[in-house]
């Protein structure tokens, strides 16, 4: 059963195409993330589903019924805003009760429901507080309770944790997942934080420049990115400039090629290797088969792991190694190291390395 279905959605603002030909499905009871960088159009998509914007093209179906032109008030969708949008002149209680009062429910029923929700979001004792007296995390919980009060079948959240501290954000994100599991409400949330998306969603829809890049589970999107953009946006990645010579991958600035055969790629073609930091394997010995030779230029302590900076030819890579492993191996800065890649994605760089780098820089994923 589909909770939300979106087909060929498009939206233009003045001379800027914000959303183009976007289609996806959200099954009932799923918690799905709309992930993308700022300006990618993800908020616009969410607002169109809520009815806060009107699409120029395409269709929106909510629980199987056409809702493309339906008025906001009739869609019965819960919406949580990035900056909470709490009613400043009303107490926490009145804020939460608002949706129920509009539906003209009986006062006793309202009071009961509000009490229930206050307990759910753990804000007992704050019923009579005003939004200005609450912290960011508390306000967000009120916003959530308020959205849930009229018992919507769909919950939409627009960067719900965007304005909060990292720690608060992670706690709230997990708490949202718990809540979702308990209430089993179809939820779609917008975020630019890939960690958040990976951690709590059933499915991720990656959006870039108004278009869908990839849809899949967190594992799909992380392990098997289908485009350069997804590979570099979801999770951290090393960008290695190389080219193909005699069917082998030759890293720029290095004498030896990588040990494995390069899959069907054109000789002489420039390529870009995207390797996750945790997929970079380091060995002291082993000769050519263990990997190509590089130099360890920096070791940084990061608490639960170490960040090792390695120079490979013209490239610099980051490898992440567990704390215990480094304590055992005892690497020091300046040592020679054999580097192999457990997993890599190869992307053609027909316009050259520079173009790919520009694109990644433009998206903010490398400096």
């Amino acid at each position: 059963m589909l909770g939300i279905q979106v087909e060929g959605l498009g939206k233009r603002f003045a001379d800027f195409q914000a959303v183009e030909d976007v289609s996806f499905k959200v099954r009932e009871g799923e918690l799905v993330a709309l992930l993308g960088p700022s300006g990618s159009g993800k908020s616009t998509i969410l607002r169109m589903i809520a009815g806060l914007e009107v699409p120029d093209s395409g269709h929106i179906y909510l629980h199987g019924l056409e809702a493309t032109c339906q008025r906001i008030q009739h869609r019965k969708v819960g919406f949580v805003f990035q900056h909470y949008a709490l009613f400043k002149h009303m107490t926490v209680e009145k804020n939460i009760a608002f949706g129920l009062e509009v539906q003209k429910k009986k006062p006793e029923a309202i009071r009961e429901k509000v009490q229930e929700l206050i307990q759910l979001v753990k804000l007992e004792g704050y019923q009579h507080h005003f939004p200005s007296q609450l912290s960011g995390g508390q306000r967000q919980r009120v916003a959530l309770a308020r959205a849930l009060a009229p018992e919507p079948r769909i919950l939409l959240l627009d960067e719900p944790f965007g304005s909060l501290d990292t720690k608060v954000r992670r706690n709230l994100a997990h708490w949202l997942r718990d809540l979702h599991d308990r209430m089993k409400i179809t939820s779609l949330f917008v975020t630019h934080d890939q960690n958040e998306a990976i951690e709590i969603s059933d499915k991720i829809i990656v959006i870039n420049r108004g278009r869908v890049e990839q849809i899949g589970s967190a594992a799909d999107v992380y392990e098997e990115p289908e485009s350069k953009f997804v590979a570099s946006f979801v999770g951290n990645v090393n960008v290695v400039n190389a080219f193909i010579e005699k069917a082998r991958i030759q890293i720029k600035g290095m004498a030896e090629p990588l040990p494995d055969q390069a899959p069907e790629h054109i000789d002489g073609r420039d390529i870009v290797l995207l390797v996750r930091p945790e997929d970079v394997l380091l060995k002291r010995r082993g000769g050519r088969k263990a990997g190509v030779e590089g130099r360890l230029t920096a070791i940084r302590y990061r608490g639960a792991y170490f960040e090792m900076e390695i120079t490979l030819g013209d490239n610099q890579l980051i490898a992440l190694v567990p704390k215990e492993w480094q304590e055992k191996e005892g690497w020091t800065e300046g040592e020679a190291v054999r580097v192999a890649f457990k997993n890599q994605r190869i992307f053609s760089a027909p316009e050259g390395h520079k173009r790919v780098h520009e694109m990644l820089k433009h998206l903010g994923y490398i400096e």
Binding site: A50, G51, L52, I72, Q73, R75, K76, V77, G78, F79, F81, H83, Y84, A85, L86, F87, K88, H89, F98, G99, V102, Q103, F130, P131, S132, A143, R146, A147, A149, P150
Partner: protein, 276 residues
């Protein structure tokens, strides 16, 4: 906000002295002078003055006219601010600038303009006359004059608040099922209330003391079109300075009251405003 790090030097003290002297001579002393002269005659005599039929009629008329004007102004001023902030139409910038006209025009000129437009020899004047409504030299004229001179107060008070309002709250209300009118009355209006009240208080205060336009538009017919300021003027003109005291003090006192209420409204609204 002050620099208290260094003790006030010779120069600072003389600056302060000059400032205090100026305000003292122009504001403080005159207020003390009138209060002492008025109270010097005794409370009972003040009371007799205020309760004299002519004075009472003047005070009642002033309060009534000001009250009616405020009611109209609150509605039209808020609507005007709404239209200026939320809608688009040609010449919006020009019209926005013209809102301040009543602030710039001398009150007597306002009076003259209204007489020209609605006077006994004008088209509109004769039209209204035939319908049985006298504008000039009667109460409607007073309300009209007051409406003109206080027109900008509510508009300019509400406008900045409206412009600062994020659409978020209204959007939230709509996602919760509220229709446009429910959203307006339960979300927008309460948010605008302090600004509306400020504008109302300012226009009320101004209306209580308005003289120039009223004296021309309404004439000076005791018990019919004589407002309190006009009454005071009449008494001064006929040399009864003492008997003007009671009403004058009342007007002064009401102004103080309105100023204080304004401060309270503004302080109270700060409490609900989020500090981001």
């Amino acid at each position: 906000m002050s620099r208290t790090r260094k003790p006030p030097g010779y120069g600072s003290l003389s600056l302060r002295g000059a400032a205090l002297l100026y305000v003292g001579l122009l504001i403080v002393l005159p207020v003390i002078a009138i209060s002492s002269r008025a109270l010097g005659g005794g409370i009972t005599s003040l009371w007799t003055q205020i309760t004299s039929p002519q004075a009472m009629a003047a005070l009642k008329l002033t309060l009534l006219m000001a009250f009616i004007m405020v009611l109209i102004n609150v509605v039209t001023g808020t609507a005007m601010a709404w239209v200026l902030v939320r809608y688009r139409f040609p010449l919006k910038k020009v019209i926005n600038a013209m809102i301040d006209i009543p602030f710039a025009i001398p009150t007597v000129v306002t009076g003259i303009m209204l007489v020209v437009l609605y006077g006994p020899r004008s088209i509109l004047g004769t039209l209204f006359s035939r319908m049985g409504v006298e504008i000039i030299f009667d109460k409607p004229g007073i309300v009209l004059a007051l409406l003109f001179v206080t027109f900008p107060f509510v508009v300019r008070s509400v406008q900045p608040v409206l412009m600062e309002m994020e659409p978020d709250m209204e959007e939230a209300a709509q996602t919760l099922g509220a229709s446009r009118s429910v959203t307006f009355f339960r979300i927008v209006l309460p948010t605008l209330l302090p600004a509306i009240l400020t504008g109302a208080a300012l226009s009320f205060s101004r209306a209580l003391g308005e003289f120039g336009s009223v004296v021309i538009v309404a004439g000076n017919i005791p018990l019919k079109t004589q407002t309190a300021p006009v009454y005071v003027f009449g008494e001064i003109e006929s040399g009864n300075v003492q008997s003007a005291m009671g009403v004058s003090l009342f007007l002064l006192f009401s102004s103080f009251l309105v100023l204080v209420m304004l401060k309270l409204i503004q302080n109270r609204s700060q409490r609900h405003v989020e500090s981001t």
